[in-house]
Symmetry: C2
Subunit: 342 residues, 2 copies
DNA sequence: ATGAAAGCGCTAACAA
DNA sequence: TTGTTAGCGCTTTCAT
């Protein structure tokens, strides 16, 4: 079982064996068109035979470029982020880039030190889903030198890919409006979260567009956007109904977990969904389709978000000298109609 | 908005500014104890002032070691793998390692090319959740030079971290046996999947241990381990019951999706869970706790699996010359009792 | 305790 | 078309 690793063969060994210079070996790899077909074939066969694996570390040092990019997400376990990561990984594969995954765990300090690590690795750039949009922080990140593309957050100064949450909120509200009327309620997360604000704005915009007063929209704000919180709000709704107020004909939730909680809370108490109350979620996670009553929800192009971010980063890197204008691509969400709100 | 990137300062610039040699700067960074306190302070202040970011690429080239490891998973979107990734990312942070994420998408060809990429990057090693355990393939991977630690699959020749699926199957079966009796059925995935085989073996072992005949265990095998497939099996169970055979008192599923499907299929037809039929899942994904009837299931230490794998890889790398014996650490799953099978 | 200098493996002028 | 050669930025003997 003694298995001393064979001494790594380098460009020089290949060159010697093939009877050419190192430059020619390098060229057959990087610019095959400028080397004679015969030589190329000979070199390639030697490479094969010696099991030569080029050392990109050395190449990076020499060229000053690196085929490595960073991806910083708050929690890779969250389906929203892991879908993004999947899109990033696929695009990176296409571009022959490696992705350094950093899980910031919602900790700004950790996030910063990870960006620092990426800078030390001389990553060509980084895609980050920032924990806080604090402009000062972002400037600091950028000053670390690597190119930055923000995901799921618009950058005033720089590239980003994001989703139009206002449009998503509008879409959901319009659906409820046209199928159920105007007496739906909004179940929202903390107003400290930009996405929650935007979705709410969209819902209000839909109301305005229908000639209604947006301030009449009843909103329940929860601190944790969990299934449990949803069940809690459902109870509130039922209590109010017992006190005489009618149940709303629709509930618009700003994520899927809340919506599932609402449905559970309502159905447990004999209220039927969607007959008595229609429920719309937001996000289209796997749980939406798999729920006991499949969820009508706003689908977010998460994979596309990640995929596009890589392409944007590559464009930014390429355009480094050739002049590059920062850009933002905003994806439009769409409504997926299922049983919970037909 | 013209912002020419400032020319990167290197070790040499720092040395010049601090009036010392590059060796001293390097030493204050890597072996601070051997440089005089006064010099060290001066150098550090210059580093700070010039915003010097060491270039690990160059260091790697020089030392032949790299603070980068690879992580290859079949699908980062799958909660099982993303939990592992989280554990890997955390452990890597602790060890100041970068993690290159590769999503093999269940494609052996892609997996191989990703391992090749890791070899080109001279990653210090790779953690892989292999698509196929084919020994020849693994040998080929190892021959690419980087150290390998397998995750969720035992390596006959090399390091690995895995979960004892036989124990998990036994745990689940024992629970059903002691709370419900011996007339439970097994709903399993394809026998081509080692984990499915192991979980089945565990269930059979539990039967044997109770003095029962393992061959009497009724098993339903599905090709896709989805919620839908679970609903399908539930229907089969109900049809059989109509034909006179009694419903089993328990159902043991080899993943959580199947269990949720079973519950849905049964309850939709008026069968109460757990009163008439107890259902046990496997995996303890988020959906288990969040299900309408919270799921009794076998919890797998996914995070620990990833975390331990990093430590094992580090040990293997360290022990490269100092003699290192390959090891396998096998984690024991545990049973989480919830409402679906109290 | 510090400095001088030789590379790590590769790429890219430039020369032939 | 191919070869020669000078580094990329760092670490590490070996002197001093």
């Amino acid at each position: 079982m003694e298995r001393n690793p064979p001494p790594r063969v380098g460009l020089a060994a290949v060159a010697r064996e093939a009877g050419v210079s190192t430059a020619t070996v390098s060229n057959t790899l990087n610019r095959p068109e400028i080397v004679a077909a015969a030589t190329r074939a000979r070199v390639l066969s030697v490479i094969e035979r010696l099991d030569f694996v080029p050392n990109t570390t050395a190449a990076s040092l020499r060229t000053g470029t690196n085929r490595l990019i960073g991806l910083v997400v708050p929690d890779i376990t969250n389906p929203f982020y892991s879908e993004i990561a999947k899109g990033v990984a696929a695009a990176a594969d296409e571009q022959r880039l490696g992705v350094i995954l950093c899980n910031s765990q919602d900790d700004p300090v950790r996030e910063l030190s990870q960006l620092e690590m990426l800078a030390e690795q001389r990553a060509a750039g980084a895609l980050v889903v920032p924990i806080t949009a604090d402009a000062k922080r972002l400037a600091r990140l950028r000053s670390l030198g690597t190119h930055l593309v923000l995901i799921d957050r618009e950058a005033d100064d720089g590239c980003s890919t994001s989703i139009d949450d206002v449009a998503g909120g509008r879409l959901a509200a319009q659906h409820l409006l046209s199928t159920r009327g105007d007496d739906f309620v909004l179940v929202n997360g903390s107003h400290a979260i930009p996405q929650c604000i935007d979705r709410r704005s969209g819902a209000r915009a839909a109301l305005s567009a229908a000639g209604l007063e947006p301030d009449d929209l009843v909103e329940y704000e929860v601190t944790e956007m969990t299934t449990e919180a949803g069940v809690g709000v459902a109870r509130l709704l039922l209590t109010a109904a017992e006190a005489g107020a009618p149940l709303p004909s629709g509930v618009l939730c700003t994520n899927d977990q809340l919506a599932i909680g609402i449905i559970r809370g309502l159905t447990q108490h004999g209220v039927s969904v969607p007959e008595q109350v229609a429920v719309v979620g937001y996000g289209d996670l796997a749980i939406a389709a798999d729920a006991p009553i499949p969820l009508t929800t706003v689908e977010q192009p998460k994979y596309a978000l990640g995929h596009a971010a890589v392409e944007m980063l590559v464009a930014e890197i390429r355009g480094e000298q050739s002049g590059h204008r920062h850009s933002t691509s905003v994806f439009r969400p769409s409504l997926v109609v299922r049983d919970s709100a037909p």
